[in-house]
């Protein structure tokens, strides 16, 4: 039996697969951020809170309305996305003509408020959310025990990422969106309602965050801080991928998940930092990010 740096290959495959699963979360979250930044020019710091709200929405749907996981997977992103749309209309849309910094401050403030409100009503310890029975259990892959749910997370994430990429890069609607960000006046002149397009885009980006929140609810602790713990890493992913690059955020999300997974095997203490080290290197070598366009 050969070994690689003292780690048996089975363990290594297992860890790589786990890294890929974590990468799925990074990918969905950074995708939402990238869309919002790319099309609205807003650095959406509420993204973590919206991910948390997705998980809480799943819990509320189950406990107040009896809607199980599968329903929540569809309803929660719509509800949270709608809340996002209201926010965009009422507050964020007033900042488009200002510097990025204002949007960042506003959304950061909103994130703190959302976290505080949920902490006030539900406490900090978290809420229990069970695994859907269809996905409990797992498969023995020979080199590791693969929970069915983690497999589902990878599949769901790939499907959602691909669909989003396809809509934006390959459909007429996506073409309008991309054109509207380049030159909103011109696109408006063709009779397209640009503000509505932008509002819906924000709602969609928020919905993606909420979708990731529902995916996370059965395996991560559902508490008001769950987004704050993750959002910094996701921002690093977006920066490495290139701010606003759709493909960049997807590829980097999965890729960094893998790298983080490997670090957890060889040097666990460093696994929380490795992404930021990579970010620093990328910024030094290629400041626009791996997939970003140089300005």
């Amino acid at each position: 039996m050969f070994e690689l740096l003292g780690i048996p290959p089975q363990a290594l495959f297992g860890q790589l697969l786990l890294g890929l699963i974590n990468g799925s979360f990074y990918a969905i979250l950074s995708l939402g951020l990238a869309i919002i930044f790319g099309l609205l020019n807003i650095i959406n710091f509420t993204h973590g809170a919206q991910y948390m709200m997705g998980a809480f929405a799943a819990w509320m749907l189950l406990n107040y309305l009896g809607i199980p996981y599968w329903g929540a997977l569809i309803v929660a992103p719509i509800v949270v996305g709608a809340v996002g749309i209201v926010l965009e209309r009422l507050l964020i849309s007033r900042l488009y003509h200002l510097d990025h910094l204002y949007g960042l401050l506003l959304t950061f403030g909103l994130a703190l408020i959302a976290t505080g409100v949920f902490r006030n009503f539900y406490g900090i310890s978290g809420l229990p959310y069970g695994m859907p029975s269809q996905l409990s259990g797992g498969q023995n892959l020979g080199f590791m025990f693969m929970p069915n749910y983690r497999g589902w997370v990878i599949v769901a994430s790939l499907v959602v990422c691909f669909a989003t990429w396809f809509i934006i890069e390959r459909t007429r609607l996506g073409a309008y969106l991309r054109a509207a960000t380049e030159n909103p006046t011109m696109v408006g002149a063709f009779g397209i309602n640009v503000p509505r397009l932008i509002t819906l885009t924000y709602g969609f980006g928020v919905g993606l965050a909420a979708f990731a929140g529902v995916l996370a609810a059965p395996i991560y602790n559902v508490n008001p801080n769950m987004g704050a713990d993750l959002i910094i890493v996701v921002f690093a992913v977006v920066v490495i991928g290139g701010m606003g690059s759709i493909l960049g955020s997807i590829v980097t999300g999965f890729g960094l998940g893998l790298i983080e997974g490997l670090t957890r095997v060889f040097y666990p203490e460093g696994s929380a930092v490795v992404i930021f080290v990579i970010m620093a290197i990328v910024l030094l070598v290629k400041p626009a990010g791996l997939f970003g366009r140089t300005v």
Binding site: A11, Q15, Y129, Y149, Y220, R264, V273
Partner: protein, 397 residues
């Protein structure tokens, strides 16, 4: 206008001064985490527990009690500033609770320097009554030694001879791992490996897989709060407990189990010094607490109640609030309260009482939202805490 104001103020001042002759007034500062990860197990609930202790002590004994509270945000510098301000300018006589070991050690020093009294309930570190012990500190509810001893020896004696630790990579996690390893080895067990996990963490599956691969019989979770909840949730997902390995939650509170849900948490073994459903007295008190807060109390909140009640009794017995005299009374008088029963405060400041080994119920056994534990064993007071001579405390002579 100004003149009348001054006259009114001096009259009030005179009245207060004369009242102070007849009454001892005590100001208790409850200092803890009111917004962060420990705000459920300490927070406002601890302040309410202190208030309840003052009410239950009674207003007819010539002692008036005022409870104030503040948020130390789990930061030693923030906590130290509040403590100095309380002691120097706001006439606070005693600081209670203080979770987070680093903050507690800072308050321990300041209280000693100002010659006031520190009633710790929330912090875990056994150094408070060991190498850092102080004549002004009482450590009431639990400590890392007691947790390690309770859960560690119980698991080894139940056949869990080989251990693998998931340790939160900071002082608290290291201390808990060190204390538990010592207990495991002393009971004839063996530690196969350790993985230090970044704090705080979300995904523990890689670390759990490493623990699984080690083949250890017990996976010791030397972490707390959200880290523990995530590890346990994911261990169940990866079939670790079903595969025959047992999990040992080395620091778990009833609120953590509540957050996990019984489907995931069932069968876990853990050590606490208080549970709301122990006896009629704890049930009665916890029902009153729940009326005010909407939740069952954690052992830390119960500990704040017990410590404040004992302190007030000592003030009454000493007839003064002088720190030295009151501390002497606290250590001389046996403790007796509805939550922890009878006990003593040792010379090193350690409050000793029984600890309980609990097992988390299965969903079928549970009859309500907070019906979470069954008692496996009671560890008697003389076995539950580190022996006086072993702590290295200078007061233990």
């Amino acid at each position: 206008m100004k003149k009348t104001g001054l006259i009114a103020a001096s009259i009030v001042g005179l009245l207060m001064a004369s009242a102070a002759h007849a009454q001892t007034s005590i100001k208790i500062g409850v200092l803890n985490d009111r917004s962060g990860i420990y705000s459920d197990i300490t927070g406002e609930g601890s302040a309410i527990a202190a208030q309840m202790a003052a009410e239950d002590f009674g207003t007819d004994k010539g002692i008036t009690v005022e409870v104030v509270s503040a948020d130390h945000q789990n930061k030693p510098d923030v906590g130290s500033n509040i403590a100095r301000q309380w002691y120097d300018t706001e006439n606070v006589d005693v600081i209670a609770d203080v979770p987070t070991s680093s903050v507690a050690l800072a308050i321990n020093d300041i209280t000693r320097e100002k010659n006031k009294i520190f009633l710790n309930s929330g912090a875990a570190t056994s150094d408070l009554t060991g190498s850092k012990c102080s004549p002004n500190t009482v450590h009431w509810t639990y400590d890392t030694w007691a947790l390690a001893n309770g859960t560690g020896s119980a698991m080894v004696n139940a056949g869990g001879k080989t251990w693998f630790f998931l340790t939160a990579d900071y002082a608290f996690g290291h201390a808990l791992e060190r204390d538990t390893s010592a207990v495991v080895v002393a009971n004839g067990g063996e530690v196969l490996g350790v993985v230090r996990t970044p704090f705080p963490g979300t995904d523990f599956s890689s670390f759990l897989l490493q623990a699984q691969a080690s083949g250890a019989q017990v996976i010791g979770l030397a972490n707390a709060g959200g880290d523990t909840i995530n590890s346990i949730k994911q261990a169940s997902e990866f079939g670790i407990t079903q595969g025959g390995q047992a999990l040992a939650g080395l620091l778990m509170f009833v609120n953590d189990v509540h957050a996990l849900g019984l489907d995931v948490a069932q069968g876990l073994v853990l050590t606490e010094s208080f549970y709301w459903d122990l006896n009629d007295q704890t049930r009665e008190w916890s029902a009153r607490f729940e009326e005010k807060t909407g939740k069952k109390p954690s052992m830390i909140q119960a500990g704040v109640y017990g410590a404040v009640l004992h302190y007030l009794k000592a003030v009454e017995a000493a007839g003064t609030k002088d720190a030295e005299a009151v501390m002497a009374k606290m250590k001389e008088m046996p403790t007796d309260d509805p939550l922890f029963g009878k006990g003593v405060v040792r010379q090193d400041g350690r409050k000793v009482h029984p600890m309980y080994l609990f097992r988390v119920k299965t969903p079928d056994q549970s009859k309500g939202e907070w019906d979470l534990y069954e008692t496996v064993a009671t560890i008697p007071a003389d076995k539950a805490f580190r022996p006086l001579a072993d702590g290295g405390c200078e007061l233990a002579k």
